[in-house]
């Protein structure tokens, strides 16, 4: 699944794209961001769920899933898992 990680620039209120990636066979995407780049800010992770469903010959209620989240303590590890199906999804904060 293709995904992307923009960061919100508070001075311009614009989203700046930091990384794009694709999940591997395990559904993971290593190497998303370096510790130095992971500054406190609002980020969003966008998952191209609709495209994955299409490639499987299915429709999906959700063309994509975007999860906005706030990072205050960037020394911690952040895990943003996404449980998704054609008609539901659920992110939660992991570590």
């Amino acid at each position: 699944m293709a995904l992307s990680l923009p960061r919100l620039d508070p001075s311009t209120s614009l989203w700046n794209l930091l990384t794009t990636g694709t999940t591997n066979d395990d559904g993971r995407c290593p190497g998303l961001i370096t510790r130095e780049a992971f500054t406190p800010a609002v980020y969003k992770m966008r998952f191209e769920t609709g495209r994955v469903r299409e490639s499987l010959g299915e429709t999906s209620f959700y063309p994509y899933v975007e999860i906005g989240f706030t990072i205050t303590d960037h020394s911690q590890k952040f895990h943003v898992p996404l449980l998704c199906s054609r008609f539901s999804y659920s992110p939660y904060r992991g570590s």
Partner: protein
């Protein structure tokens, strides 16, 4: 509690699962993607009632097939309760192909997770 608003084909329900109460008095907005200009156009703004619901979101006539986004001001909501949350807002983007059906978009929300599904 009866509503004088016309029946909306799109409904929502917010539940604060962390505290086990309805997500009351949460600001939200409904947007539709203008497919020509590829920008989001605001359709409705509202606030959930004491029950976590927001009647009268959209009329049947306005509910055309297209891509919509429901945005919940969850960050403000948690702040008003004296909490922080990692989610400054929740935006749910969904596609409507058959606008004659009813769509229910529940949001189960805690400070560190949320869940949505398509209901009717």
């Amino acid at each position: 509690m009866s509503s004088t608003l016309p029946d909306s084909p799109l409904t929502t329900y917010v539940l604060n699962t962390g505290d086990g109460v309805p997500g009351a008095r949460m600001a939200l907005s409904l947007h539709r993607l203008d497919s020509l200009l590829v920008i989001w156009k605001l359709v409705t703004v509202g606030t959930t009632d004491e029950d976590g619901r927001c009647p009268g979101l959209i009329t049947k006539e306005a509910f055309k097939p297209g891509m919509y986004k429901m945005r919940f001001e969850t960050g403000q909501y948690w702040e008003s309760l004296g909490h922080t949350s990692i989610y400054p807002y929740v935006e749910i983007v969904f596609t409507i192909t058959n606008h004659n059906e009813r769509f229910h978009l529940p949001l189960l929300l805690s400070r560190f997770s949320y869940s949505t599904c398509r209901g009717s």
